[in-house]
Symmetry: D2
Subunit: 336 residues, 4 copies
């Protein structure tokens, strides 16, 4: 059974809008960053990672975003191009904005943190009139990400993209990706997240992210089904609520809930798990697979990424995901 109907035969399978930045991953890990002396540079940002993931899985993809007019921006542009992602709507900033940075600290597989540089970043300077309606019209799916709603003019650009997507029957996915440091207050955050979510077909987030969105709503028990039902009253068809190690639960408009099995992994760090999960899950849905199978596919993709040093660079191909699942099924991979 298909819970979401994707438009057929468009030039692009998947287009994302939002954050494009640089990850600087500590080379010397399992120690505090004070003791790290060298860092390796990767493309980062949740929607960028998901798009790279979709491209690796063989989907035709595009990105809508803004990069700094500097060496970091040009590196990002080149990396997207090299991964087969349409960059015709990746605009270059002309105001002196910088590229957002994320320095990763890996003290242990379960104790990871990020040091962010998000002041005056190019990705939040994308303007409404820079969003190309035709590119969205040519897409089967548009993915938006919460961070792009944090500031003007990027916020308006995302809402404009939503208007175009609705106008052209594009399936809209909302990856909540709530990063408090770019926001003024939880109240402000809740208002814009809700305005965006009302227009989305598929919503993916953690229980904590949905709690933030319910700042002004009555849901004292943090009930997942109450949360899901709120969005089914608007446009949503699928709502996925993630509970960390307890796994994820997917609700569908028809009133069913679904849980996927998870896979073991030799965890290096936890960064990138959500992005690779999203790519694998959406890939499955777009193949017409059942929700459980799609969720499992997302989990396997996530396992591959968290077993690696990078996020974007480790996004797996179909062969790699299939191989991982088979090795798990054969008992060849065990929890670290």
């Amino acid at each position: 059974m298909s819970y979401v109907s994707f438009p057929a035969s468009r030039r692009l399978d998947f287009t994302a809008i939002g954050r494009l930045c640089i990850d600087l991953n500590a080379n010397e890990i399992n120690r505090p960053m004070e003791e790290t002396m060298t860092f390796t540079k990767y493309v980062g940002g949740s929607p960028a990672n998901i798009t790279i993931g979709m491209s690796r899985l063989g989907m035709k993809t595009a990105f809508i975003g803004k990069i700094a007019n500097d060496q970091m921006g040009r590196f990002i542009h080149r990396y997207l191009e090299n991964n087969g992602i349409d960059t015709s709507n990746v605009v270059t900033d002309d105001t002196g904005a910088v590229t957002g940075l994320a320095f990763t600290e890996i003290k242990s597989p379960t104790d990871c943190s990020i040091l962010m540089y998000r002041d005056h970043v190019a990705d939040l300077k994308l303007q409404s009139h820079e969003v190309q309606e035709q590119l969205i019209a040519d897409s089967r799916v548009l993915l938006i990400s919460g961070t792009a709603l944090a500031q003007s003019p990027s916020r308006e650009a995302v809402f404009q993209a939503l208007t175009y997507a609705k106008r052209h029957g594009v399936v809209i996915v909302f990856d909540l990706d709530y990063r408090p440091y770019t926001w003024t207050s939880p109240e402000e955050t809740a208002v814009y997240y809700n305005l965006a979510a009302e227009k989305c077909d598929i919503i993916l987030g953690t229980r904590e992210e949905f709690d933030m969105m319910e700042t002004f709503d009555p849901n004292p028990e943090h009930s997942d089904s109450l949360t899901a039902q709120k969005w089914f009253d608007f446009a949503a068809k699928i709502v996925v609520i993630k509970h960390g190690k307890q796994g994820s639960i997917a609700y569908t408009r028809e009133g069913l809930s679904h849980r996927a099995e998870s896979y073991p992994a030799q965890v290096v760090k936890t960064f990138g798990a959500g992005d690779s999960y999203a790519a694998g899950f959406l890939y499955g849905l777009m193949q017409g697979w059942p929700i459980e199978q799609s969720m499992g596919y997302g989990s396997a993709a996530a396992c591959i990424v968290i077993s690696s040093h990078s996020c974007s660079d480790a996004m797996p191909t179909v062969e790699q995901v299939n191989d991982y699942i088979e090795r798990c099924n054969r008992g060849e991979i065990t929890v670290s």
Copy 2:
């Protein structure tokens, strides 16, 4: 026939949210402001004026807004109280914000302008969590005004008020009131006006205001019926498009358009015409009158205000409007 169904038997007929400020009207008129030596102080701001108008017409009213902690703010609070307006949700700023000012210049009845002080004003500091859900739940109508969408946190407060109004079945009126100087760009303006308008039952604005809202839409001929239809695809029941001296046209979801007759006036200045029109028109609708009659009532109320020196202070009572219409019908009032 009733085009909008107002909830019955609530404590309040009408609640507005948004701008509260001070008008400083030139006492020596028909000259440039450089030659004006004295000014008289009045309460101003479009939603405040409409609320005062509704109160004068006998409706039970309330206001949601924020005032400066200074002499101007206390004057506004006292004036609202003296006009029988519930001020339990008029919050006092504690950040040192000032009261917005509008100095009026009346060079001639047809050449009027305003010098605005809108930096760091208290009315735009209203926060989401300061909006009282119960007050909105107790109201038959909520009126929002575009200027309150211009900046954070007031913008979020208005969207939160819209959420509460939808939750409790309150009829929502949007008076567009577009003032470019408080906005960053027409694109930004269009995005938020559209997000708000999607949720509104009655939308009132000039052709130019609707044009701004269609920045990203195809309507090259500036067709009123195309404009109206866009909003009927969302929640709207009535869309009123004003064409200045050519009069206003009201569209209803049923596909009909309506024009009201207008009345002559001895014009002193044009300020306040829109606010008094809105009050008279909404009063008529809430009485269950036909649209044409409601529009005519709004026009008569507007004539009274533009024949006077002030806006808020000149808002008429039912007796005054009826008397004005009768005098017009008897030919006692002619165009100045």
Copy 3:
């Protein structure tokens, strides 16, 4: 004996730089501003008032400042022109800045306050390169005022004016005029006040203003002579410290202190006392009068202003000051 040597035979006696704004004085006085309904408009701002005062006393004057491109700005420009003040270095802002406003509240002759509008004001937008070196070179005296140091770029413009004045041997007067609301912190204020004061020949201020300037200095007893001595170690020749009703004390580099007698007045309000005092005092010094006589002349000028409704408009002529002193001497004026 002459304590300060003024350059002879220049085109201009007196040039001031800094704040130009509008006073809106309550017409209905001896009540809180909440109950005031009308206001009268005057030119205001401490250095503007002093310049008007000097012009009324017959001096050749000029002003260096920036006005808004609006009706208020044009009113100020016209008023200066009408008072014979050279406005060739009064620049018009082109960034949309507004004219600063000061609403006065006169609850009683001894209970007066001001409600200020100082956000985004034109006078603080004056830039270094807009200051005309030749105008300063043509002046015998340059007066600076503390408020102009509160923000960039006005702050830099004042320091640039000081450089020009030093280069051309112009006597520099610093009227402290400390207004906390335009400053970030007392520490910031102290730093810039001190940097400016180091270059000045005559410094006029209240004990409280000098205390602020000594934030980082050891003067626990608030000793006037210690305060004066600090500045004599730099460029100062005369330091006047005002103690409100206790009168003023002037120190000279030679080590003497001087006190002037004061005059009775029928006080309407206290605004403008300092500005008219400065004008009278500087006028006396420039005539070569002894310090006590100059201080007395300043006091008499101040009495005239505080007996009137306005500040700038009430600045007296030589005849008026002389007449006031004679009437006081004849016992015709008594304390209100």
Copy 4:
């Protein structure tokens, strides 16, 4: 002959105030940064580098500055401590500021550039009241650096430090270090540089930096001696003007000019040359050496740093400088 008299027998030889940041130096060099994949982390910032240099040369040193409350800030603090620098006046920011970053790009030994992250940086948040008067009173030399004047409150903190240094007879050195990207305009820059330079005993800068400071001065021929004379009219004893490959020229108050011989170097990159020069030169002056010898010592120290991958980490000891000079004298080092 001694041109500057340093106070004797104080706890500290040398204290600097200002910028503390992180350099991220490309590991793969001689290519554009787009192709660099890894970076190594070092402490950076001109005054920090000079202080590290002075410490390596055996001087007792301290630093006055502000670091971010994050891993980068703690790394800086630890590095200063490990280099024997007194950090008792290195304050930790509590406002969420970040550590300034400088990514270096080395396309070739003569084509180097820097990508800066200077938004919301901790070093510019140092406040006046955080500067310890006693630490300055305990120092023989205070070095200030132009970048710290770029923004409030760091600018005020530097001026306050200058006041303390004057009060306690500390020799003040000004390393101009002009970085346009942190400033609003050249006019603003000139004003504050000049205000600071008026109080300094030794001023070091490039011809271009002195040109910027003369924005409002008449020096059309860019005459070095005119530039030097301007500062001798204030407090300066020595003014060093650097002309890149043409070498530096030092002027002294007595009217003499001095040129030093330079040394050959195997250049890796040009970063850090000025900082190591300043350390070597000041070290020589404090030893009582002639100016030419001090300049030569600075040149040799600079050669060592530009032959290395880092700036701070490559600052040489006395033995290393002496050895370098001897090897040059023996002809063992030739220009790359």
